[in-house]
C-alpha cells in the first residue's frame, strides 16, 4: 500500500536546500520526500514552523557507561517516572533516562536521529543492545579508537596505512560510524592513575597525544569517511585548557579532507574553552576559540552547553571524572577497558549561584553567539555531561532571546559580568539558524545529508518536525515550550508525535560505516592484532566482532579506500 502524507501551510526551514522560512508544501511517499503526492493524508501546519527531523551529533544515550550511570543513580531514575500507556512503555530518569524515555523524549522534541558518541569497542554489543531498545530514533555510535594499543603502536611506528587498516577493522567489528577520540593517551595513562597533556609521552608507549590526533586524522582521510575524526581532546575541564584546544586544532590544519567537510570535529567545546590558571582566576576563553573557528575551515564544533541543575557526568576520560569526584566528594564509578579505553561517572550539580558554573554556562552560549557561521556549530549539551538533552529547548530560547539571557544573568553569580562577555553580546539566533545547528549542520558534518537526514529535499527521509509556533514569535517562554513538545514529529513518513504525545513507536535504524581497506594492509595488520588477542585481550578474537543479530535494522554506508 502506498502511504502518502502532505504537510501544507507550513513555514519551512530547510537550510541544506536553502529554504529559509518559506511557505511550502512537503510531500512524503513511502517514507521519503517526493515532489508531489496523489492521495495523501493531509496535515495542515497552519503557518507553524516546519523543520527536518532533528539530528543530534553527540549525546550519551546508550551503552555501558550510560547504564552504569542509571544503575548507580536510582535517585535520578525516580525523577522521570511515567507510567506505561497503551502504546508507550514506562519512563524513568532525568539525566540518565531509560531507553524508552530516550526515544520518546527526543521524538517529542522533533528529533529523529541521535549519535551515541562513545562506544568502547570491547563492549560494543552492549551499546547496540541499548540502541535497539530505543524506540523511534535512527542512531549510530562512534567507537573509541585513540587509546587502543594497536593505535598507539602504529602511531609510534608512523604506519598510517596500517593504522587505517586497524581503524577499518575496528569500525567494522563494532558496527560503528567513525573515529572517536577521548583524551588521547591520557586514558591509557589513567590505567596507572596518571594523565597526559598534549605533548606528554604516554607511559610505556612513547607517543604523545599530539601524535595520536594527527595520526588518526590522517588515517581517517585514507577512506571516504562520512565524518571527520570526532575529538574530545586533552585536559578537558581544566582552567587554561583553551591553549591546548587551539594547539590540537592546529595539528590537523594541513590535512585535506576527502570531501567538503572539516577534518576534526571538536566536541563539547565549552569544556575546552577555559582561561585562568586555577578555579580562582577561571574565565571564559570562548572568544579565542570562536576566533579560531571563524578564521579556519578545518574544524567544526559542538557546544556542550550547560543546562543548570543536577546531572550525571560520564566520559571515557577517566582522569577527568576522578578530578571531578575529588572536587565534589560524591559517588564515583570508573571502568577501564583493556587495551582500549576507560570511563568514569560522577553526579554533578551546575548552579547559577556558583561562579565557575556560571562561567561554564556562559561559555557554551558565547561559543554559539561569537562563532559567525552557524554551519560550524552544533547544539549539544554533551548529554548528560553539561545537562540532559531535555534541556535543549532552554538553550534554543537563550540563543534566540537576548532578553532571556539578560534576565538569567541577573539571577546568576556576578562572575558572568567580569569573567565572560555574554552580557555584552546582542546577537539573537533566528529559526533558520536554529534549524542549522540542530539538524542541517549536524547531518552535513556527519555526512548523513547524503543518506536522507537533516533536510527535506526530494529523496530525503520523511523526517519532519512541526513546532507549535509562528515564525514571528520571539517570546522565549513560548519558544522553549514549542521546542520541548512538537506539534507533530514525523519519522520516515509516519506520524510518531502529535500534540506533544507519542502516537506510534516504530523501530529505529542503526547507521554504520564499512571502511574498505586494501586487503594486503589488512592482512599485515591482522598478524599484530591476533597477537594482541592471543596474549592480552580477555576475550577471543572470534567472539569479539558484533554479530549481525545486534543490528536488526541496519543501514550501511560504504567508505571506499582513496587510492
Amino acid at each position: 500500500m502506498v502511504e502518502e502524507l502532505l504537510i501544507k501551510n507550513g513555514v519551512v526551514y530547510d537550510p541544506i536546500n536553502g529554504v529559509k522560512g518559506e511557505k511550502k508544501d512537503i510531500c512524503i511517499r513511502n517514507g521519503k520526500i517526493v515532489e508531489e503526492v496523489k492521495n495523501p493524508k493531509v496535515i495542515d501546519a497552519g503557518g507553524r514552523v516546519v523543520m527536518p527531523g532533528g539530528v543530534d551529533i553527540h549525546a550519551h544515550i546508550a551503552g555501558g557507561k550510560v547504564n552504569s550511570g542509571r544503575l548507580f543513580r536510582p535517585e535520578d531514575g525516580r525523577k522521570g517516572l511515567k507510567a506505561k500507556t497503551k502504546l508507550c512503555r514506562p519512563e524513568s530518569g532525568y539525566s540518565v533516562p531509560n531507553t524508552f524515555a530516550v526515544g520518546y523524549r527526543y521524538a517529542r522534541m522533533g528529533y529523529t536521529f541521535v549519535m551515541e558518541p562513545a562506544m568502547p569497542p570491547l563492549a560494543a554489543r552492549h551499546t547496540h543492545e541499548e540502541l535497539v531498545d530505543i524506540p523511534i530514533l535512527d542512531n549510530a555510535a562512534l567507537p573509541l579508537i585513540d587509546n587502543n594499543w594497536m593505535t598507539l603502536e602504529y602511531v609510534k611506528s608512523g604506519d598510517i596505512d596500517l593504522l587505517a587498516a586497524y581503524i577499518a577493522w575496528i569500525i567494522k567489528a563494532t558496527k560503528g560510524y567513525g573515529v572517536k577520540v577521548v583524551n588521547p593517551g591520557g586514558t591509557e595513562a589513567w590505567a596507572w592513575a596518571k594523565n597526559c597533556d598534549l605533548n606528554d609521552a604516554v607511559p610505556y608507549f612513547d607517543v604523545t597525544p599530539a601524535d595520536i590526533v594527527k595520526g588518526l586524522a590522517e588515517a581517517n582521510e585514507r577512506f571516504e569517511m562520512p565524518h571527520s575524526i570526532h575529538v574530545h581532546g586533552n585536559m578537558l575541564g581544566h582552567p587554561g585548557n583553551y591553549e591546548v584546544t587551539l594547539k590540537t586544532y592546529d595539528l590537523v590544519k594541513g590535512i585535506t579532507p576527502y570531501r567538503d567537510r572539516p577534518v576534526l570535529h571538536s566536541t563539547h567545546t565549552q569544556f575546552f574553552s577555559y582561561g585562568g590558571t586555577t578555579w580562582r582566576d577561571f574565565e571564559s576563553k570562548a572568544r579565542a576559540i570562536a576566533d579560531y573557528v571563524n578564521a579556519n575551515e578545518h574544524v567544526s564544533i559542538d557546544l556542550g552547553s550547560v543546562i543548570l541543575g543536577d546531572t550525571t557526568t560520564m566520559t571515557a576520560d577517566g582522569p577527568m571524572e576522578y578530578s571531578l569526584y575529588q572536587i565534589t566528594g560524591r559517588k564515583w564509578t570508573n571502568h577501564d577497558v583493556e587495551l582500549e579505553t576507560g570511563s568514569g561517572i560522577t553526579p554533578f550539580m551546575y548552579s547559577g549561584k556558583v561562579g565557575v558554573h556560571t562561567i561554564q554556562w556562559a561559555i557554551g552560549l558565547e561559543l554559539a553567539l561569537l562563532t559567525r557561521d552557524p554551519w560550524k556549530i552544533a547544539l549539544t549539551s554533551d548529554h548528560p555531561n553539561a545537562g540532559p538533552f531535555i534541556g535543549y529547548p532552554i538553550l534554543i530560547s537563550m540563543l534566540m532571546s537576548k532578553k532571556r539571557r539578560d534576565e538569567s544573568a541577573e539571577e546568576m553569580h556576578s562572575s558572568i559580568f567580569d569573567r565572560t562577555e555574554l552580557p555584552s553580546i546582542d546577537r539573537e539566533y533566528d529559526f533558520y539558524e536554529i534549524a542549522i545547528i540542530t539538524r542541517a549542520m549536524t547531518a552535513r558534518t556527519l555526512g548523513l545529508h547524503e543518506h536522507g537526514k537533516g533536510h527535506l529535499g526530494v529523496g530525503a527521509d520523511g523526517d519532519v518536525a512541526i513546532y507549535d509556533i509562528s515564525p514571528e514569535e520571539r517570546d522565549a517562554g513560548k519558544i522553549q515550550k514549542a521546542f520541548l513538545n512538537a506539534k507533530y514529529t514525523i519519522k520516515g513518513g509516519e506520524i510518531v508525535v502529535k500534540d506533544g504525545e507519542v502516537v506510534s513507536t516504530p523501530e529505529g535504524r542503526t547507521f554504520f560505516v564499512t571502511p574498505e581497506c586494501d586487503p594486503k594492509l589488512t592482512d599485515e595488520m591482522m598478524t599484530k592484532l591476533k597477537e594482541m588477542f592471543t596474549n592480552y585481550y580477555s576475550v577471543s578474537f572470534a567472539n569479539y566482532p558484533v554479530q549481525d543479530a545486534y543490528v536488526p535494522n541496519p543501514y550501511e554506508i560504504r567508505a571506499p579506500w582513496r587510492s
Partner: protein
C-alpha cells in the same frame, strides 16, 4: 565428530570464551579448557522430559501449549505476581520478562537479590572504581580476594584473568604478582596466597575500617587486634596496596551475605578509594551466574533500576528491602510466581520457601530441582549456551554471545516467555471486551 572452538561457557560470571567442545550425534562428548564446574554444565545432565501441570498434588505431563496457557492464566489472574530468576538465561529472555512484568504489573527480580544485591546498594551509595578483567591480567601486580573462593566458585578466574594469568606488563604471571586472601576459613584459594588474613565471621567491616584508616594515614587509631586480625597484618596489607602500581579487590558473598551486608561493600569500596589516593586501585564483585550481570544491565536500561523492580503502579518502583523477593515472600505478599533459570527451592531461606511453596508457581528450567517439588506448572526449556544462543554479560560487564552447539526440540526461554506474554495479552484483551 565436530569440534567447536571459542565456545562461550554458560556457567559462572567468568564467561570463559575459549572453550573447545566436541559434538557427536548432536551431543557434547568432550570439553576442553573449562573448569570442572563449567565442564559439568556443558556435558549436560538429565532433563525435565515434558511440560507438566500439577493435578491433585502430582505433576501430570502435558503439551507446551497447555502449560503455557495455564501459566498465562495464573499470571493474568494474579494480584501480586513475582517474576524471579533470570540469571542463567540470556538477555533476550529478560527483555521479554520485563515486558511481561509491565503487562501484569509484576515485581521482577533476579538472583542478585540473594547474591550481589548488597553490592548494588553499595554502588548506589559510593560508586564502583573498576575495570575489565583484561586490565587485571595485564596490569594488576596485587590481587586481593575478599570473602571469595574462586577455586570453588570461579574455577578459571585466577588462570584466565588474575593471579596466574600472564599479561603485557606482567609477563611472568604469578611470579610478578602477589595474592592476598581474606576469609573466615582457610580455603584452597587461601592456601595459594602470599598473605592470608583470617578474619572472624561477621567482622569484615571492622577489618576494612582499619585498613581504610591506615590508607588515609591514621594508623594510630587502629587497635592491636581487629576482628581477629593483628595490626601488623593490616599494616602489611596496606603497604602492599600502596606499593602496587595497579591493584584490585575481588569480593564475594563472604561479605555480601554476612553481617553488615551492603555496609561491608560500601566500606570495601571506600578502601579502594583510599588506596586510589596512593596508586591505581580497583574493586570488582565476583558475580556468580553467567548472566546475573546481564539481567541487571537489561533491567536497568529498560526500567531504570537493576533488580527488585515493582511494576504494579505502571511505572518502575525500586525499593530493595521492600520489593526484593525474600521480603515479598516473608510478608506473604505474592500470590503467584514465575521462576525462571534459578532455583529458589534450593537457594532461598526456608522461611521464604514456606510461602512460595503455597502459592501457584510456574517453573521454567531445563532441569528438575527442589523448586520442581512444589511448582504447579513446569515448562522445560533449551539450555542456553548449549542448545540456544543469546547475549550475556560477564562479571566485568563485557557482553558476549553464547553459542548454540547442538539442536534441540525444547523451546528456548525466549520462546516460552514470548508465548506466555502473547497468551497473557490475549486474556487481558478478552477481559477488556
Amino acid at each position: 565428530m565436530v569440534e567447536i572452538t571459542d565456545v562461550v561457557c554458560p556457567l559462572c560470571g567468568c564467561v570463559c570464551d575459549d572453550i573447545v567442545v566436541e559434538v557427536e550425534d548432536n551431543r557434547v562428548t568432550k570439553v576442553r579448557g573449562a573448569c570442572a564446574v563449567g565442564k559439568s554444565k556443558l556435558m549436560g545432565h538429565g532433563r525435565i522430559k515434558s511440560p507438566a501441570i500439577r493435578v491433585n498434588g502430582a505433576l501430570k505431563e502435558c503439551s507446551y501449549d497447555e502449560a503455557i496457557k495455564k501459566a498465562a492464566e495464573i499470571l493474568a489472574g494474579a494480584r501480586r505476581p513475582l517474576l524471579y530468576g533470570w540469571s542463567s538465561t540470556v538477555c533476550e529472555a529478560t527483555k521479554l520478562g520485563v515486558c511481561l512484568a509491565e503487562e501484569i504489573g509484576a515485581v521482577i527480580d533476579n538472583t542478585a537479590s540473594v547474591c550481589h544485591g548488597p553490592s548494588v546498594l553499595a554502588i548506589q551509595d559510593v560508586g564502583l572504581p573498576s575495570c575489565t578483567l583484561g586490565e587485571v591480567k595485564n596490569r594488576a601486580s596485587l590481587i586481593i580476594y575478599w570473602g571469595a573462593n574462586p577455586t570453588a566458585a570461579h574455577g578459571n578466574h585466577m588462570k584466565r584473568y588474575s593471579y596466574i594469568a600472564k599479561g603485557y606488563f606482567l609477563p611472568g604471571g604469578k611470579k610478578d604478582k602477589k595474592l592476598v586472601v581474606v576469609d573466615v576459613r582457610e580455603t584452597k584459594t587461601a592456601k595459594m596466597a602470599d598473605k592470608f588474613i583470617q578474619v572472624e565471621p561477621g567482622k569484615d567491616y571492622l577489618v576494612l575500617s582499619a585498613l581504610r584508616a591506615v590508607l588515609y594515614g591514621h594508623e594510630d587509631v587502629v587497635p592491636d587486634n581487629v576482628g581477629g586480625v593483628s595490626k601488623e597484618d593490616i599494616l602489611e596489607v596496606a603497604n602492599m596496596m600502596k606499593e602496587a602500581p595497579f591493584g584490585i579487590i575481588f569480593f564475594g558473598m563472604g561479605v555480601t551475605q554476612s553481617r553488615g551486608r551492603h555496609n561491608n561493600i560500601i566500606n570495601a569500596i571506600q578502601v579502594t578509594r583510599a588506596a586510589h589516593t596512593h596508586t591505581k586501585f580497583n574493586i570488582m564483585p565476583m558475580r556468580g551466574h553467567y548472566n546475573v550481570t546481564g539481567f541487571n544491565q537489561v533491567c536497568t536500561w529498560e526500567t531504570g533500576f537493576p533488580f527488585a523492580v515493582d511494576l504494579s503502579r505502571g511505572f518502575a518502583w525500586y525499593n530493595p528491602g521492600e520489593t526484593s523477593s525474600t521480603d515479598l515472600l516473608i510478608r506473604r505478599e505474592c500470590d503467584a510466581a514465575l521462576i525462571i533459570a534459578s532455583d529458589p527451592g534450593a537457594h532461598f531461606p526456608g522461611e521464604s520457601i514456606k510461602h512460595l511453596s503455597k502459592i501457584p508457581v510456574i517453573q521454567i528450567d531445563p532441569f528438575a530441582n527442589p523448586t520442581t517439588e512444589f511448582a504447579d506448572v513446569v515448562i522445560p526449556t533449551a539450555v542456553s549456551g548449549v542448545e540456544a544462543e543469546g547475549s550475556v554479560y560477564r562479571m566485568d560487564g563485557i557482553p558476549l554471545r553464547l553459542r548454540k552447539l547442538v539442536d534441540t526440540d525444547y523451546l528456548s526461554d525466549e520462546e516460552v516467555i514470548q508465548a506466555i506474554l502473547e497468551e497473557v495479552r490475549a486474556i487481558k484483551s478478552k477481559e477488556g471486551e
